[in-house]
C-alpha cells in the first residue's frame, strides 16, 4: 500500500536507534499502514474500541504511578508497576513529546499474577489513541489486541 509522506517519515523514525535504541517495529517487516490496518481489524473482530481501551490503560498507568515505583494492586485484578525516567521521548509522528513513564500491567485475579501482562508507556498510549498504531510484532512495547482482551478482561 502506498504511504503518505507523514507515514513514511514516521516509519523511518521508528527504526532502531532513531528515537529509541530498539525501535518501534520489532521484527515486523510490514509497513506501518498495514500494521495499523491489521490491528484495527483485529480490534473490531474482538469487539473492542480503541478509545475505551486507551482510557482503561491510561487510568491503570496513572493509578500505578501512585505507587512511586513500587507495584500497586488495582481493583484486585491488576498489579501495575510503573517506572519513570527523567526526560521525554518524541513521537515518531512528530506530533509531540511524551514523558518516559512505563507501566507493566500484570493480570492478577485475586492478587497473584497469571503470567499475562501488557507493557505500556505514555508514548505507546498516544500512538494507540491518535494513530491506532500498536507497534510492530516483537517490539518491546507492542500492545497486542489478544493480550489486551485477556489482561483487561474485555
Amino acid at each position: 500500500m502506498k504511504m503518505s509522506p507523514e507515514y513514511t517519515k514516521a516509519q523511518e523514525n521508528m527504526q532502531p536507534g532513531v528515537i529509541t535504541s530498539d525501535g518501534f517495529l520489532g521484527d515486523d517487516t510490514r509497513n506501518i499502514v498495514d500494521i495499523i490496518e491489521a490491528d484495527e481489524e483485529e480490534f473490531s473482530r474482538l469487539g473492542m474500541d480503541f478509545d475505551e481501551v486507551v482510557g482503561i490503560l491510561r487510568r491503570l498507568l496513572e493509578e500505578g504511578r501512585k505507587g512511586l515505583g513500587e507495584p500497586v494492586t488495582i481493583d484486585g485484578k491488576w498489579i501495575v508497576t510503573t517506572t519513570e525516567a527523567r526526560g521525554h521521548l518524541a513521537s515518531p509522528f512528530e506530533d509531540g513529546i511524551y514523558r518516559k513513564v512505563n507501566a507493566l500491567i500484570e493480570h492478577a485475579p485475586g492478587g497473584t499474577p497469571d503470567g499475562t501482562s501488557l507493557l505500556v508507556s505514555d508514548l505507546s498510549l498516544h500512538l494507540m489513541e491518535k494513530n491506532h498504531f500498536l507497534q510492530g510484532k516483537g517490539a518491546s512495547f507492542r500492545i497486542d489486541p489478544e493480550t489486551v482482551k485477556k489482561v483487561l478482561e474485555l
Partner: protein, 376 residues
C-alpha cells in the same frame, strides 16, 4: 554521424559529465567539511583542548577525556549533556529546545551533542567533570538481591583507581544486542564505598523494556568486560550537624549503601541522627535487611524504617505499612525531633522525588536542603 557512433558518444557524454560533477562534489566536500583543528576553551582557560572540527562537541570532548554525562550517547534524546557555551555557535536548534528550560536558554546552556564544532569555542562545565575517568572494567560478581534487582560488582583495570564521593553515580555501557544496534549507556549510583578504590558496585533493577537493565539481567556474565565512565553528580552528604532524612525505594538503596559504609569507614556515622526510610511493596522487594537492622541495633543515632505498601499475608509484617510518603509524613510529624534542623536525601523515580519533596515541604523542611540526583 553514424548510428553506431551515437551509441558510444551519448553514454560517454553523460558519463563524463556525471564524473566531472561527482569530482566537483567531492572536492567541495573536502573543502567545506574540513574544519581543521578547533580549540575548546573550558572554564576560562582552566583547560584547553585541540580537537578535530566537524564532529559534535560531546564527542570532541569525550575524545580528550572530558566526559560530559550523556544517557543516550549523543542522539539528542536524553537532554543530559548540557554545557554553557559562551562564544557564538549559532542559534539554538529545534532539536535542543524541548530539553532546555527558559532559564537555561537565557543562560546560553546548550546540548553538547547537538553542537557541531566549527570554530573555536569557549564553554563552561562543572569542574568535577575533569575528574571523570573511563574504565574497561571486569564484572567480578553478579548477585540477585531481590527477584528484580541485581548487585553488579565490577573490578577496575589493574593499576587504575577511582576517587569519588559517596552518593555520586557512574555510567554503565552495554554492547549492542538483539534488536539494539548501538552501544547504550545508563547512569547508576555507585553502591560501593569510596574506600574500595579498585571496584565499583551498582544496583540494577529490571525495567520492563529497558535496554541496559534488560541486558544486565539477561545477558551480562561474570568475567565480561564493560565500559564505565564516572564519577558524576552532586548528590553527597553535606557536612553539617543536621539530621539526615534519607528516603529510597527499589534500587535507590545504592547511594545510601555507599554513603553509610563511607561514614562507617570514616567514623562519622555516629556524629548525627540518620533516618533511613525504605519503601517497597512486599517483603521480597526489601533487601540488605540484616545489615541495616544490625546498623540500627548497634548505632543509637541510626534509625532504619522499612515500609511495605502491600504486605502479603505470608510476609508476617509487623512494621509500618503504606506508601513511603505516608510513613515519612507520620514520622516527620510524630517521631522525629522537631528541634534539630533537618536535611533531606532522596533517591528514586521522579514521581517518588516529587511526592517526597512535597511531604518534606509540608513538614517545614527547607526545599534547598533537600538533595537528590537529577539523572534518575
Amino acid at each position: 554521424m553514424t548510428f553506431d557512433m551515437l551509441f558510444f558518444v551519448a553514454p560517454a557524454a553523460i558519463g563524463g559529465i556525471s564524473a566531472g560533477l561527482a569530482a566537483l562534489i567531492s572536492i567541495t566536500d573536502k573543502i567545506v567539511n574540513n574544519y581543521g583543528d578547533i580549540t575548546i576553551d573550558i572554564n576560562n582557560g582552566k583547560k584547553e583542548l585541540v580537537v578535530k572540527g566537524g564532529q559534535p562537541m560531546l564527542f570532541g570532548l569525550a575524545g580528550e577525556g572530558i566526559f560530559v554525562p550523556s544517557a543516550c550517547g549523543g542522539r539528542g534524546s536524553c537532554g543530559a549533556c548540557k554545557v554553557k557555551v559562551k562564544s557564538d555557535v549559532g542559534p539554538v536548534m529545534p532539536t535542543e529546545v524541548p530539553y532546555l528550560t527558559k532559564e537555561e536558554l537565557a543562560d546560553d546552556i546548550r546540548l553538547s551533542c547537538q553542537i557541531k564544532l566549527k570554530q573555536d569555542v569557549d564553554i563552561e562545565i562543572p569542574e568535577e567533570l575533569f575528574n571523570v575517568q573511563e574504565f574497561q572494567a571486569t564484572i567480578e560478581r553478579i548477585r540477585d538481591v531481590t527477584h528484580d534487582i541485581k548487585e553488579v560488582y565490577c573490578k577496575l583495570p589493574e593499576g587504575m583507581e577511582i576517587t569519588f564521593t559517596s552518593g555520586q553515580y557512574g555510567q554503565f555501557e552495554v554492547p549492542p544486542y538483539d534488536k539494539v544496534k548501538e552501544k547504550t549507556m545508563r547512569a547508576y549510583s555507585m553502591s560501593s564505598p569510596p574506600s574500595d578504590k579498585n571496584h565499583l558496585e551498582f544496583l540494577i533493577r529490571l525495567v520492563p523494556g529497558g535496554i541496559v537493565t534488560s541486558y544486565v539481567h539477561q545477558y551480562l556474565q561474570e568475567g565480561q568486560k564493560v565500559r564505565l565512565v564516572g564519577p558524576f553528580g552532586d548528590f553527597f552528604v553535606r557536612d553539617t550537624d543536621a539530621q539526615m532524612i534519607c528516603v529510597a525505594g527499589g534500587s535507590g538503596m545504592a547511594p545510601f549503601k555507599s554513603i553509610f559504609q563511607d561514614m562507617l569507614d570514616r567514623g562519622t556515622f555516629d556524629d548525627r541522627d540518620i533516618w533511613y526510610f525504605f519503601g517497597a511493596r512486599t517483603k521480597k522487594d526489601v533487601y540488605y535487611l540484616d545489615w541495616l537492622y544490625k546498623l540500627d541495633e548497634e548505632h543509637e543515632r541510626f534509625h532504619f524504617v522499612p515500609a511495605l505498601s502491600e504486605p502479603q499475608p505470608e510476609d508476617n509484617w509487623d512494621g509500618p505499612t503504606g506508601l513511603i510518603t505516608e510513613v515519612l509524613d507520620s514520622y516527620l510529624k510524630n517521631t522525629i525531633s522537631q528541634e534539630t534542623p533537618k536535611e533531606g536525601y532522596l533517591c528514586g523515580s521522579p514521581g517518588m522525588l516529587d511526592a517526597c519533596i512535597k511531604v518534606m515541604g509540608d513538614n517545614d523542611m527547607e526545599t534547598e536542603k533537600i538533595y537528590f540526583d537529577k539523572f534518575a
